[in-house]
Symmetry: C2
Subunit: 191 residues, 2 copies
DNA sequence: GAGGCATGCGTACAAACGTACACAACCCCG
DNA sequence: CGGGGTTGTGTACGTTTGTACGCATGCCTC
């Protein structure tokens, strides 16, 4: 060892820092480019810590994405809980799509990477199912189950498209769309 | 060479077969697990063919996903062109979500992998932008631009959620949702 | 204060990767 | 029918990966 910081006995914060570093690496290099060495470097821990704290690469990824999904779900639920009525909830949803959580490329990339893993690996699908259920439960504070479903899906797709799209979306159109989906405004055939 | 089949001069079908095999490998092992060796094995061509036909791994992936996106867009456009009116178009959209193109896990996985790449790499984002534009143009045969946008996004999200979800969605609810989004039915506050 | 044990790390290793490159097979032109 | 250029392939190389494992470090007990 080149000295510097001495290893402290039983440092539980170490494990957390590795998980956070893992999410950072995934966000910038993708799951494909997320090697244990890069995560170790990002967390500023020696390579040996990887095998010590995690059984393997997959366990590390599972824990990292688990934390990510739980945080995202909790944030969404908080927003829904804060909304006093349906209209406020819909506005919060639009705000979410247009600027908030996923505005940073980081969270968008992370969610895509998670979906990609979930599409093939049941262990990760458990995480996305949990996330989806929590999202719908949060919407369930204001809407009936069927509406929760379509609203949740719309948020999903709109977020993705907004992030990929070059020309910016119109928030008014989005608000109008979620109102129609929620059935809180009568829709007219547009010109 | 162990003999068997002799190398035929200028076999253009060879390149196509590699691209198809690449999509197969991506669908089963993900982009991360898509190595040139595995693609070569799947296409039943020698490893050397990889470097001969493609400048590198990334070019191979770009061409493969390009083909995938174009095919998917073309299929969607065909369905929209076949629809005689708005109602038929909406029904076609619902059919698409509920069973058709993405019913096979394969296409879903492929589109996720593509989105994941696009979220980080501009070269792949060009592919998704093109796909999105074609989808909207196809919808544009029946709907105004703002509606195309929200419908397209809804299809996106609903497809993803339906594929990940354990409990099956209700096609009637989905049809109702797209009708509301398209403004072709007056929505009532549901019970 | 010395032995022992839990904690954490440096290093080594086999496997797998992308890619380069020399060379074989084949056809065309004279 | 033979040289030359095009087309396609076998193989070897340097790098990077995940993971295992022996060893250093520091606390606790007696």
């Amino acid at each position: 060892m080149t000295a510097g910081t001495r290893p402290r006995r039983h440092d539980p914060e170490r494990r957390d820092r590795i998980i956070d570093a893992c999410l950072d690496v995934v966000a910038t290099r993708g799951v494909e480019g997320t090697t244990q060495r890069r995560v170790a470097a990002a967390a500023d821990v020696p390579l040996g810590s990887m095998t010590y704290h995690f059984a393997g690469r997959e366990e590390l990824l599972r824990e990292a994405f688990g934390r990510f999904a739980r945080q995202a779900a909790a944030q969404f639920d908080r927003r829904m809980a804060e909304a006093p009525d349906r209209e406020a909830a819909l506005r919060a949803v639009v705000r979410l799509i247009m600027q908030d959580v996923f505005a940073t490329q980081r969270d968008l990339v992370l969610s895509h990477e998670l979906y990609t893993l979930a599409a093939r690996d049941p262990a990760f699908r458990d995480l996305t199912n949990d996330w989806m259920r929590r999202s719908r439960d949060a919407l369930g504070r204001h809407f009936d189950p069927a509406t929760c479903r379509v609203l949740d899906a719309f948020v999903e797709g709109m977020t993705i498209h907004r992030a990929l799209d070059t020309e910016p979306a119109d928030g008014v159109d989005v608000l109008d769309a979620v109102r129609r989906l929620a059935g809180t405004v009568s829709s007219r055939p547009s010109a």
